[in-house]
Amino acid sequence: MNILVCVKQVPGSSAVKVDDKTGLLIRPKKGNKLNPYDLFALQAALDIKDCDGSPVSVLTMGPPQAMEAISECLWMGCDEGFLITDRVFGGADVLATSYTISQGIRKAGAQDLILCGKQTTDGDTAQVGAEVAEHLGIPHLSNVISIVRRDESSVTVKALQENLIVTETLELPCLLCLDADINTPRLPSYKRMKEMGEAKVKVLTFADFEDQDKSHYGLKGSPTQVQKVFPPEKNDNRVLYKGADDKLAAKLSSILKERKFI
């Protein structure tokens, strides 16, 4: 089974900066990391590799420094890496991003199982995985918490859907978006890093893609009109009451009633 994991490099801290004029995220050249949600998808893929030797490829889209993210995946145990990078792809929204990734996947060889994380810590849309699958015309499922069975033609998974867990069987090839905290991601191996030397990453640019219509990529291919992008406001408003226990208890009770919690 050929497995491909889609990952993204994200800012290393939650202090995300946004360009006031363009509304685009300012990606620092240093201090980036692999999107933490993708690590669970990577671990799930590498678990399968541990069981049956399935080769695991990893693919990302981003500026040249996103190569670091691919290298890290290789040090964790992935076999091959693809970096989609080109100025043509800059400023892409969810639709253009997912389309670009789907074009990249088409050039990354035949894949049976494509795994994505739940969402990213910078964009947080949780839409790219499903849209990639739609562009590729393959079945997909989100909120997957475990892969319970797989054979040559299908994979059976459990997924969280609202208040219940569903068991679904999908025909291969398919795409799964894995939930967070479903496993403990392994750590990158320094030994593997030393052994691998320069990471063997295949770079894919616009020139490599089948679709040569530039209006499908980057800002031009992005119908989303961003009015304003800003990090969520931190809300740590709190009120501190002091006094005797019984008076505090009465006060708390009246606040809860007033706000209709009780």
């Binding site: 290393g12 240093k30 990391k33 692999l34 933490p36 690590l39 040090w75 496993n183 403990t184 991601p185 392994r186 750590l187 990158p188 191996s189 320094y190 030994k191 593997r192 890093m193 030393k194």
Partner: protein, 462 residues
């Protein structure tokens, strides 16, 4: 000897600390023991103090009326040090948690003794500074840390609590308030009473305020987890790491069985099960390049010494997945058995491997489970004897035999009884046998000089 508290005494205490004096059934059972739970004692009065002046008044009263006094912070001790084994008054400092001064010019922070270590760490962190000692029990008070000279995981590079205390406000048994040390960096001014009070476990004076050294927080840190085929191989690499002219912040060792306890306790898997023995190390610096360069040096050394791999821990998430397990080891081992007792010996770093292997021999000799983990980088080991449903007589007998064997071995290797948990009640006999009569007599003379009536934490340490 000491007097028992009478109603008049309680009334007098209530005048000092109105509404904050508890007696009999008002005192929660948690105050009768510490974290380990092997020592037990019921205080006759519990006084929740708010100020140094209140501590002074309570001590003055106790001194005049021959009442024993035990000081308590969060009660996270492991040797019975903060247990009222003689009854009397227990002074609870946990409400004293104000920051009194934050001095960036002198790189100090002055806090009250009841401030929790986690609160202090967060306070400094928010301002871009670091209080260096990092004991595993973050809910301990800084006063408690000072009383045992707690060490923690960053001791290899940054030292222990004693190294981070610039000055103390303390109350003598007669109620007199003294200030020892100051914000100065150097001090060659007579006997160092500050350092004497640190680690005295509340037997010489009651610490109410501490001026602590802080440093600008290192900008970057990276950890590595290094699996080895055997514990012997892992530990024997540590002296070579120390000798490599690179100073890690921490060098911890852990075995697979301890990791499994932590997994069960936390309900969360550890990122690897590749081996039976691991070293966990952290490197920090103000530049990413310097920390990574140090890491490379030690990673290469470990591989040369036969490490199976070197796993990189370079993000908050990865750090949490490993260090949360390390932080839970004590509780995890505790939850794996019905009762346990601990040995907190410290041995020269070159002797750590010998000592750990010896604990395996002791476990076989007494037929008991003796898991361990600890600070390989500073020679401080935490070794736990698990009761595992043994009956009372067997437990006491085997525990005593195991402790005697281990402390004798520590002595033979040039080690000492306690690295950071203190002596309290539980380790008194081993301290006496390790230090010998001359040193114990000197300590007793010091105790008499501070506390001629012996009212402070009687029966502890010596």
């Amino acid at each position: 000897m000491f007097n028992k508290l009478k109603l008049d005494d309680i009334r007098a205490l209530e005048r000092i600390a109105p509404t904050r004096v508890l007696t009999q059934a008002q005192i929660n059972e948690d105050y009768f023991h510490d974290e380990l739970g092997t020592a037990f004692g019921v205080p006759e009065a519990l006084v929740k103090v708010l100020t140094t002046a209140e501590v002074s008044q309570v001590l003055k009263y106790a001194y005049e009326h021959d009442l024993p006094v035990v000081t308590r912070g969060s009660g996270t001790g492991l040797v019975g040090g903060a247990v009222a084994t003689s009854g009397g008054i227990m002074i609870d400092t946990s409400l004293m948690k104000k920051v009194l001064d934050f001095d960036q010019s002198n790189l100090t922070v002055t806090v009250e003794a009841g401030m929790l270590l986690m609160e202090l760490a967060a306070y400094c962190d928010q301002r871009g500074y670091q209080y260096c000692p990092d004991p595993g029990e973050k809910s301990a008070t800084i006063g408690g840390n000072i009383s045992t000279n707690a060490g923690g995981m960053r001791a290899v590079k940054y030292g222990v609590t004693r190294d981070a205390v610039r000055a103390l406000t303390a109350v003598l048994p007669n109620g007199e308030i003294i200030k020892v040390g100051s914000k100065v960096v150097k001090n060659s001014s007579g006997y160092d009473l500050k350092d004497l009070i640190i680690g005295s476990e509340g037997t010489l004076a009651i610490v109410t305020q501490a001026t602590l050294k802080i440093i600008p927080k290192p900008e970057y840190a990276i950890s590595i987890l290094v699996p080895f085929a055997t514990m012997s191989q892992a530990i024997s690499t540590v002296p070579k790491i120390i000798g490599a002219k690179v100073t890690p912040v921490a060098i911890e060792y852990m075995s697979c069985d301890t990791i499994l306890f932590a997994e069960e306790y936390l309900g969360k898997k550890f990122p690897t099960h590749a081996s039976d023995a691991y070293l966990l190390m952290t490197f920090d610096s103000n530049t990413q390049e310097a920390a990574i360069s140090d890491m490379h040096t030690i990673a290469d050394l470990c591989l040369e010494e036969g490490a199976l791999d070197v796993l990189l821990i370079d993000t908050e998430e990865r750090s949490a997945s490993v260090w949360s397990a390390r932080g839970a080891f004590l509780e995890a081992i505790k939850s794996s058995t019905d009762q346990m007792d601990e040995c907190d010996v410290v041995v020269p770093r070159s002797a750590v491997a010998d000592f750990i292997l010896y604990t395996h021999e002791v476990a076989r000799t007494v037929s008991m489970r003796i898991p361990s983990f600890g600070h390989a980088g500073d020679g401080n080991l935490h070794v736990y004897i698990c009761r595992d449903k043994a009956d009372d007589e067997t437990w006491q007998d085997k525990k005593s035999k195991a402790f005697s064997m281990m402390y004798a071995k520590a002595r033979e290797l040039g080690g000492l009884v306690s690295g950071e948990h203190g002596i309290g009640l539980a380790k008194k006999e081993y301290l006496a046998s390790t230090l010998g009569d001359t040193q114990i007599q000197l300590m007793k003379a010091i105790k008499r000089a501070f506390d001629p009536k012996g009212i402070l934490n009687p029966g502890k340490v010596i």
